[in-house]
Each structure stands twice: as C-alpha cells, then as structure tokens.
C-alpha cells in the first residue's frame, strides 16, 4: 500500500515537473526540422528577448498564483509604470532615477492590490479586475492617450542593448529567475507562500502573518510588472499608453503551462520559465513558417488546452 503510494507520488511529481520541459523540447525539435533558421544563435536570443516581458510578468504571477490568488492588473501596471518613467525622463530626470520611480510606482500599485484583497476582503479576481481598469485609465490620463518618446541612449540600451553578446532583457530574466527560484526554495518567505497557498488556515495557525505574505506577493507582482514596463519602453524607445493590454492572460498561460496549480500551493518558477518559452517558441516558429497570425492564435489555444488536459489525466 505504502510502496504503491510512493511510486505513484514520485511518478506524478516527476511527470508534472518534466512534462512541460518535454513539451518544450518536442516543439523545438519539430520546428528545427521544418525551419533551418530556427536553431541559429541569433534566433534563440531573439526568442528569449521576445519572451522577456511575458516571463517577467509570469514570474510575479507565479508567486500570486502559488498563494491561490490571481493578478489581472499586471498589464496595466506595466503601462502606467512605463509612461511614468518615460514622462519623468521627458521632464529631464535622470534615466536611472526615472526607472526607480517607475519601479516604486509598480510596488505601490501592487500593494494596493494586496491591501484590497487582505484588509478589504475583496476576491483577488475582482480586486485586480477593478485595478486593471483603474491603472489603465490613469495611464491614459497621464499620457493624454499619446505615446511618450524616450530615446535617451543610456535608457534604451536597457531594452535594445547587449552585454557580452547577450540581449540585456535576457540578462534581466535570468537574474530574476535565479533570485526568485532561490527565494522560493531557501527562505522562510518562500515556504510561507507555499504553505499559505496549500492551506491558509494551517498557515495562520502555524503563526505565519498571512496578511503580510499576501501583500508582499502582490507588491512583488507589481514590481515585476513595472520592470517589464520599463524594459518594454526602452525596447520601443517610447511608452505607449495601450501597451501591455491583454498581457495578463499570456502571463497566466505561461504559469499554467509550467504546471503551477491555479488553486495554489503547488508549482515552481522553472516551470513558468519553460511555459513562457513554449509560448515564445511557438510564436517565433509559426512566424518563421509564415503561418498567418490568425492561425497562430488557434495553435496557441490548442497547445494550452492539450497541456492542461495532459496534466489532468496524470492527476486522476
């Protein structure tokens, strides 16, 4: 009885961890046999740069989803932080300081989400649905609906530059990936996130400040969204008030593709990176194959469904 359980337990967790990676490899092999450009170094970095925005959003989203919540406002936080940063630079503020202000703005927006959810007892879906509209509206108000140009060289290299041949946005996601992975595995805060998502009542009774952990998690999600907004602004040399619209859904898709459970308590950041890569590789590969963007959406939807259905069948 116990031995059976062990075997099952191990098999399930192994499949859950390896499933997304196997899927990614499968897609890569498939695409590289069809298109010869696909596996070139420049294309690989191209893909990584393309997924950097989504990966950053998805990292923050992973933390939120691990606690059993959801954050729909990340696309709007991205936009508001982006236009604020660009706006500050337009006023002559140094790029680094303007970026810092953008990040702080993201943190404030995230903590507003967290406070609404904990102190205000609003369901995460509703709270962030409201702030999604709120922050987007503020973005349009601040920018008067127009793009804000920011072509300061020291700023745009954040999105367009290279460091030792590696695109700088890729360096950003690697740093964030390792730091987050370490935090989740090796710090009490990481443990608390998993415990809270697994059983909030038990976490509370173990003395965990559940309110504090939740606020921190939404704040981090806001910071990641702001970082993504700044990098996107740098890449485009301007902040578009409509940028990031719908990005929250891609971020959620990456988290789910990576095997993190939407009910909380189960998941890992590596899965999310793989999930984001699956989406990025599909986009890129289908582009190389000249598949129309209409069909691309169909394929992406189908891949997400297949992944989730496979995941289900392993669990039952």
């Amino acid at each position: 009885m116990h031995r059976e359980m062990k075997a099952r337990d191990l098999r399930v967790s192994w499949l859950q961890k390896m499933g997304p990676l196997a899927g990614l490899l499968l897609i890569i092999i498939l695409l590289s046999t069809i298109s010869h450009d696909f596996l070139s170094m420049s294309n690989i970095f191209n893909v990584l740069r393309q997924i950097s925005i989504n990966a950053l959003l998805a990292f923050g989203m992973t933390l939120v989803i691990l606690t059993g919540g959801i954050d729909l406002s990340v696309g709007s936080i991205l936009a508001l932080s982006g236009v604020l940063t660009a706006g500050m630079m337009g006023m002559g503020i140094e790029p680094w300081l303007a970026s810092l202000i953008g990040i702080i703005a993201g943190a404030v927006m995230g903590s507003i989400n967290g406070l609404l959810i904990t102190k205000g007892r609003v369901a995460p879906f509703i709270a962030t649905l409201a702030t999604m509209s709120l922050f987007r509206g503020l973005t349009l108000v601040y920018s008067e609906g127009r793009p804000i140009i920011s072509d300061d060289y020291s700023f745009v290299i954040m999105g367009q530059g290279y460091f030792l041949e590696i695109p700088i946005p890729v360096i950003w996601i690697l740093i964030c990936f390792f730091v987050l992975g370490f935090i989740l595995k090796n710090t009490p805060f990481g443990r608390h996130i998993y415990a809270l998502g697994g059983n909030e009542e038990a976490a509370l009774l173990a003395g965990i400040r559940t309110v504090g952990v939740k606020v921190a998690v939404y704040t981090l999600s806001g910071i990641f969204a702001a970082l993504a907004g700044i990098i996107l602004t740098a890449r485009l040399s301007s902040a578009q008030p409509t940028m990031g619209t719908g990005y929250e859904l891609s971020a959620i898709a990456a988290v789910v593709l990576g095997g993190t459970s939407l009910t909380g308590g189960k998941g890992w950041i590596t899965g999310t990176l793989i999930g984001a890569m699956i989406i990025g590789v599909l986009d890129n590969g289908l582009n190389l194959l000249n598949v129309s963007s209409f069909y691309q959406q169909v394929v992406k939807g189908a891949v997400i469904l297949i992944a989730v259905l496979l995941d289900r069948s392993q669990k039952t």
Partner: protein
C-alpha cells in the same frame, strides 16, 4: 387510538428496522440494531458521539445502504437506493444543516425540483403559492410563501424544512439535533409544531443530547451505545440516571496509560474570564506544570471556540491570560506561539496540515525561524531535525519528502502534533487529538502526551470521547453553552456526573 403513553400498541408499527448492520472497512458501526417507530409517536434516539445514531439515520434516509437488516414502512419492505427514494417513501430528514437555497422564496424551496407539478413547461405560480401556504398553515408558520428563505430566522427556516418534508407526504420525520441553533422561543414554537404533527399521526425520530428536551417531548427513548441498541424505555417510567447509565455503560480503563506527573504544584497557565461575544463567556481555569486538564462538553458547547480564542485565532472580547506568572497578550497565533503555546486542531486536514506539502515542511513550519540564518533556511539542519522527529514519533512514510496528504490518519495526526515538538512549547491545546485514529495509534498518542507532561508541559485536552477525557485527565472541566459549568478532580469524576453537567439534564431527576 394507538397512543404510546398508554402503553398499549394495537396497530403494526409505522417503521420497523430489524437487524441493521453496517461496517466501514472492518469497523462495525452498527451491530444488528432494532428500532421501531409508531405513528403518532415522538421517539428519542440517544447515545454518545460515535454511538451510531447518525449512521442509523443515514441508513434510514438512503444515504448509506445497510450490509444486513430490513426496513419496513407500514408493513412494506423498503430498500432505499438514494435519499430521494427514501423521501418518496415517506421518510423526511431535517438535518442540522438545512438544504435550502437562501436566494429563493419559501414556496420555490418547498417545491424545488418539482415545479413540473404546477404546469408543463411553465410554472403556475398562484397554484404553487396556494399549495405552499397550505403546508405552512399545517405546521403553524404564518409567513408569506414568497418571502426569500435567507430573510427568515433559523427557527423559521427549520419550519420551512419541515414543511418541505411534509409536502412529500412524509409520515416519518427525523430531526437531528433540531434545537441546537434555536432560541428559547423558537424552541417552544418547534415543540408546538411537533406536538401538532404527533396528533396528525406523524411518527418522529428525535435526536438530541439534551435530556430535558427529551423528557418534555418524547414518548419513548431508544439508547444506542457502540453501535448496539441497548434498550428502549418509556420516558415516563425512566429516570435520568438510568438513561445516562445506559448511554455510558461500563468501559475498560486500561487503554489509558495515564500516570500522575505533577511533581510540584506550579501554575503554568491561568486564564481568567475569557470571553467572545455569543460563543464563550467568562471562562476561567488554570493548569499546573505537568498536568492534563480535560475539557468535556457536547458538540457546540464552545470548547473549540475557547481554544481558538486562547490561541489568538479569534478576537478576545475580554479576559486575561497568564503564563508562568506573567500576563501575556495574544492577538495573533504568532503571539501565542512565541509565548510558548501549541495548538493541535480538531480538523487536522482543514486547519492543522498543509496536505500538498512534505512531512518535513509541515514539521518545520511553525519553527522555521530557528532553522534560518541570515534569511536563508539551513537545509541540512532542517533535514536532520525532520529525520530525527520522524523516527522518534514512529511515523510510517517513505521519507521526509513525502506529501502529508498521502499518509494515513494516525500518521497525519503524529505530524500535526510533532510539528510543535521542535518548538518546545510550555502549554499544549489538544483538540480531539485521537479522532479518526485507529486504536494502535491512539495508544501511541496517549503515551506521547504522557511524555510531554513528564517534561513539565501543561496540557488542555479537549475531547468528546468521554472515556478518553476521564482516562487521561488529572482534572476535568465541563463546558455547556459557552460557560464553564463544572470542574471535577480525577477521583471524583465519572461518566455519569460529567454527562449530567454537560447536558444540563439535572431536571430529569426530579
């Protein structure tokens, strides 16, 4: 007339259950139970928690099917495959939790799922309302049937449940602890309704712990103990003492390995006037170092609420807590833990454990800070502690990385207790520590509790298992309706006294 109280039964019984046997995984929950119910009778079903009352009712209402035995209603044999089948055959059960949809009207609730009775394809509202009104009048609830159920009081909602059951032409009505949530005046109204139904020849099975209610209302009493029917008595001819004796029986003490471990009297914990509005009022007690204070009481007596209050899960409205002579303030479980309290909750899956995480992570969750240096968890030290603890507690699992959800009930409970050991607490609150645990693991848990007291820890043992409370406690505090109603020394306590205090049934003696 076949009025029971005259002691003559002329007609065949309305319901007879013969030789009902039911077991779950080799545990015999019902052992050849016989039960009869006459038309126009209110028949009490009495027994301790776990005596088999609710299983018997679940068999009668088609939720479980019996392994052996037969059910006859009006002389006709019945086999119920579903609750609906039982309902159609005339058995209506009023559960403690109502099956009503609060957003729908009384009338919609009564006829939920049967709207087709009032027209094909569309509902003839006036006809439905008229009929609902008829049923409401029958039980004496004078409310507009188009009122939403959510706007009614608990007592009125219960009446709606009764009306709903009757509208299926129920001749047998089962009431499971119907007064648990009622006010005094609602209770009076309920009793009036039940008496009225008795006159209309409805047979009722009344489950309650409150002996005074049974005396007031019921014609006969059947006592269950350990899954056996011990006997049926006429209420008028039975004393409270006899009933309690029947319920409790004689039990073996040896399974409780309690030894006195109070070395020298030193007060560990003192609680004074702990109060939470409407749940716990003015509870005071103290526990010595090395002492087990048992806390007995019926379900809903406020024991778990007391524990939650003490541990800072709920907000205290009044009260003072002293630990080792120093007053402490507890506003959050974190305060309680830091002060040196540990709390093993009643509902281990819901509150005690994170089932989706490993044995190790559950173990170290409350004491993670002591494994942390410079903000990082020291993995090696954590693993070593978890391994050691697992061996010490004899937890059967595949290793410290196994998910707790895959462990058996007894092993889960050991994890739930063990996670506090790393913290070296001074006071333990154990709420139903052996519920749902097999005999072997139970004994291991008792021995563990003894070891804790030997180290001078104080224990508050909350349990609904009377033999357990009596067997393990040095003193026993009894709660009823959120108040402390009695305190016994170990030598003075017996099951009858504790039961009497817990049910407040002294009145039957008169």
């Amino acid at each position: 007339m076949n009025h029971i109280e005259r002691g003559i039964t002329i007609t065949a019984p309305l319901l007879s259950m013969v030789g009902i046997h039911k077991s779950f995984a080799r545990v015999h929950v019902l052992k050849h139970v016989d039960f009869t119910l006459q038309a126009g009778e209110i028949h009490a079903l009495l027994g301790e928690n776990g005596a088999g009352k609710s299983t018997l009712i679940k068999v009668l209402s088609g939720i479980y099917s019996a392994d052996q035995g037969r059910i006859h209603i009006d002389g006709k044999e019945q086999v119920f495959k579903s609750p609906r089948a039982a309902l159609v055959a005339g058995v209506g059960v009023i559960h403690q939790e109502f099956n009503l949809v609060p957003h729908l009207s009384i009338c919609e609730n009564i006829f939920l799922g049967r709207e087709h009775l009032f027209g094909r394809g569309w509902i003839r509202w006036r006809k439905m309302r008229r009929e609902a009104l008829l049923w409401l009048e029958k039980i004496g609830l004078l409310v507009d049937p188009s009122c939403k159920v959510g706007e009614l009081s608990i007592g009125q909602q219960q009446m709606v449940e009764i009306a709903k059951a009757l509208s299926f032409d129920a001749q047998i009505l089962v009431l499971d602890e119907p007064t648990a949530a009622l006010t005094q005046s609602e209770k009076k109204a309920l009793f009036a309704t039940l008496c009225r139904l008795r006159e209309k020849q409805v047979g009722m099975i009344y489950i309650s712990h409150r002996l005074e209610e049974i005396e007031e209302l019921c014609d006969r009493i059947t006592v269950l103990r350990n899954g056996e029917s011990i006997g049926t008595r006429m209420t008028k001819e039975t004393s409270m003492d006899e009933l309690v004796g029947l319920m409790v029986g004689r039990k073996i003490q040896e399974q409780f390995p309690r030894e006195l471990t109070i070395k020298q009297p030193a007060e560990r914990l003192r609680v004074e006037g702990l109060t939470q509005q409407g749940k716990v009022s003015q509870v005071s007690f103290s526990i010595q170092a090395g002492e087990i204070l048992g806390m007995a009481g019926l379900i809903g007596a406020g024991r778990t609420e007391m524990a939650n209050l003490l541990f800072g899960v709920q907000k205290q409205d009044a009260g003072e807590i002293w630990l080792d002579g120093k007053q402490i303030r507890i506003r959050h479980p974190r305060d309680a833990i830091q002060a040196g309290l540990a709390y093993v909750t009643e509902d281990r899956k819901g509150e005690g454990l994170v089932l989706s995480r490993s044995v190790k992570e559950n173990f170290t969750l409350p004491s993670l800070a002591s494994f942390t240096k410079g903000g990082f968890i020291r993995k090696q030290q954590e693993n070593e502690m978890a391994e050691k603890l697992m061996r010490q507690l004899g937890i059967r699992s595949t290793g410290i990385e196994q998910k707790v959800g895959f462990l058996s009930g007894g092993n889960q409970q050991k994890v739930a207790i063990g996670k506090w050991l790393l913290h070296q607490p001074k006071v333990w609150i154990l709420d139903e520590p052996t519920r749902g645990v097999d005999i072997g693991a139970k004994r291991e848990i008792y021995q563990l509790i003894n070891q804790l007291t030997e180290q001078g820890m104080a224990i508050l043992l909350i349990s609904s298992d009377l033999p357990e409370v009596l067997g393990m406690s040095d003193r026993i505090l009894v709660m009823r309706e959120g108040k402390r109603v009695a305190l016994f020394n170990r030598e003075d306590a017996d099951e009858e006294k504790v039961m009497q205090a817990a049910s407040g049934g002294g009145s039957l003696l008169a």
